[in-house]
């Protein structure tokens, strides 16, 4: 009996080690993009002082934000030009992200976006402070309604930008404030929202992504028809709810076959690589897992 429990403990330990190693892959990608954007933002400031680091891009943050492409679409179609401060690079990045999202879902949110990453890192601290209460503080009914707020934000921003031809919301953009807080370009509104988001991140996982991010709202729609979906094999699922508990966006993964929730960010925390204790039960795949199982069996 003691031997069996030792084997189980060893298995659990090795699974945890493996899960941690897998989680570190995503963390490495997040750190890479965070550092890259931070360096480009610093280089932009250095360039204005005539001291830019060679080779590294010194583009402004607006120029390399794929959402800049989204808000420019109307002006590009009607006038053939971009919104002020937006250039073709933002448009190209928008298409790159759309292609990735069509196949993998909002992988940009979960793996690339530096503002999502910093909220996640603050969340790790919040989890240590608030333990089990972290990310479970907002009542489900309120939370469910609030999650549609980001579509209102998306509509407002796209409409106002199309109407004015300028980045109307740049002064309250926390992402811009994060990478420009040392410059005079940043407005106090942006800094206040940035601080508020980071503080809220101690209580709720990715609060800006969940309730306010207009780009996340748009990419979230792709979850309805993305090619690779997070799928659950009902026949092997032991209904332990580990996938639900691990999801940073509080998506009930265990209640369906495939995750089509508009807030999935393809972080893969729920999969059998990490949270799910049963092999090949929650996977990022193109076809139903039961079908794979049947094919293997036959």
């Amino acid at each position: 009996m003691a031997k069996k429990s030792t084997v189980e403990a060893d298995g659990s330990k090795s699974r945890k080690t493996k899960a941690r190693r897998v989680a570190n892959i995503r963390l490495a990608v997040q750190i890479f993009f965070f550092a890259l954007i931070a360096l480009i933002a610093v280089n932009h400031t250095l360039e204005e002082a005539g001291k830019a680091i060679p080779i590294l891009s010194s583009a402004s943050l607006h120029a390399i934000c794929p959402f800049g492409g989204v808000v420019s679409v109307y002006q590009f179609i009607t006038a053939g030009t971009f919104v002020r401060k937006i250039h073709s690079a933002a448009f190209i990045l928008m298409w790159i992200v759309f292609v990735l999202t069509l196949f993998l879902g909002p992988v940009f949110c979960g793996w690339v976006c530096p503002f999502g990453s910093i909220q996640e890192w603050f969340g790790k601290l919040g989890r240590k402070i608030f333990k089990r209460r972290f990310n479970r503080l907002i009542p489900y009914k309120v939370d469910r309604i609030l999650r549609y707020l980001r579509y209102v934000v998306l509509g407002m921003i796209v409409y106002m930008t199309a109407a004015t031809g300028t980045l109307m919301f740049a002064n309250i953009d926390p992402y811009f404030a994060l990478f420009n807080f040392w410059t005079t370009e940043v407005a106090i509104g942006g800094v206040i929202i940035l601080i508020a988001v980071l503080l809220l991140s101690l209580l709720v996982e990715r609060p800006f992504c969940k309730y306010a991010c207009p780009y996340g709202a748009l990419l979230g729609v792709f979850n309805l028809f993305r090619i690779f979906k997070v799928r659950r094999n009902r026949s092997t699922c032991i209904d332990c709810k580990a996938c639900d508990r691990s999801c940073p966006m509080n998506i009930p993964v265990s209640t369906g076959g495939a995750v089509r929730h508009h807030q999935c960010i393809t972080c893969l925390k729920c999969t059998s690589e990490q949270a799910c204790p049963v092999e090949k039960t929650v996977e990022l795949t193109t076809i139903r897992l039961e079908k794979i199982q049947q094919e293997v069996a036959s």
Binding site: A28, A59, V107
Partner: protein, 241 residues
């Protein structure tokens, strides 16, 4: 087909690298403005460059190229003649230099308005847009008296902007914030305080010196005792305030 984290990481990186690299190779990737402003779509000026499209990243040199407004005129109008190379001066730097006050702001929109006035192009500035007083002397020969009156109503001196900024920040005052004629005062500063070229010449009895020259050095070079003109210049500066 099933993907795992070890697949996603390289996929994401490769798609970004290929996408960006490919468009750089094709010459489509741009992170800065082409410095070619948009043109008027219709009306009398259809096809001409529209000052409304001047952006903060435009230098005075870019504007000269597009609108044929000389760098010297822009530098004088915005009192930046003393900068090392006015052709490289960026419009957005005006916001850092002068900032916003309760009366309005001297910034990129001021440049748009000034260029439109100088080049005789239609443009409606934003409500809080201001010009600096030296603009008047640059525009005098190009505008009617009625137009000049409109512009004068939206004109401020550098010292006014400086005083407002000082009141807001209560930081240490810089020399330009107080219109005080001292040994180090330059002709550029006198002009930026609103003292006209004619008034200065009348007080000195000489043609005005270069914007970067100090009045005292210029007086010494021309055999004038600085103390004999200092009070008159101070009075003119006070009057211009």
């Amino acid at each position: 087909m099933t993907l795992r984290s070890r697949h996603i990481a390289p996929i994401v990186l490769v798609v970004f690298i290929l996408g960006i690299g490919g468009t750089i190779f094709l010459g489509l990737w741009q992170t800065t403005s082409s410095k070619v402003p948009a043109t008027y779509a219709e009306g009398e000026f259809a096809g001409e460059y529209n000052p409304a499209d001047i952006r903060g990243s435009y230098s005075f040199g870019d504007i000269e190229e597009a609108f044929a407004v000389p760098v010297a005129a822009l530098a004088k109008a915005f009192a930046v003649e003393d900068t090392e190379n006015p052709a490289d001066f960026l419009c957005k730097s005006l916001e850092d230099l002068y900032g916003a006050t309760e009366n309005g702001e001297v910034g990129t929109d001021s440049v748009r308005w000034f260029v439109a006035l100088y080049a005789g192009l239609p443009y409606s500035p934003e409500e809080d847009t201001l010009l600096l007083s030296p603009s008047i002397s640059v525009l005098r020969e190009r505008l009617s008296e009625a137009q000049l009156e409109t512009v004068r109503a939206k004109t401020v001196t550098v010292s006014t902007l400086g005083a407002s900024a000082a009141a807001e920040s209560s930081d240490t005052q810089t020399e330009t914030e107080i219109a005080e004629v001292k040994g180090k005062t330059t002709f550029g500063e006198l002009l930026s305080w609103g003292v006209s070229k004619e008034t200065i010449e009348q007080i000195l009895g000489l043609p005005i010196g270069k914007a970067g020259d100090t009045v005292r050095d210029y007086c010494i070079e021309n055999g004038i005792e600085f103390s004999t003109v200092k009070d008159a210049l101070q009075a003119a500066a006070d009057q211009a305030q």
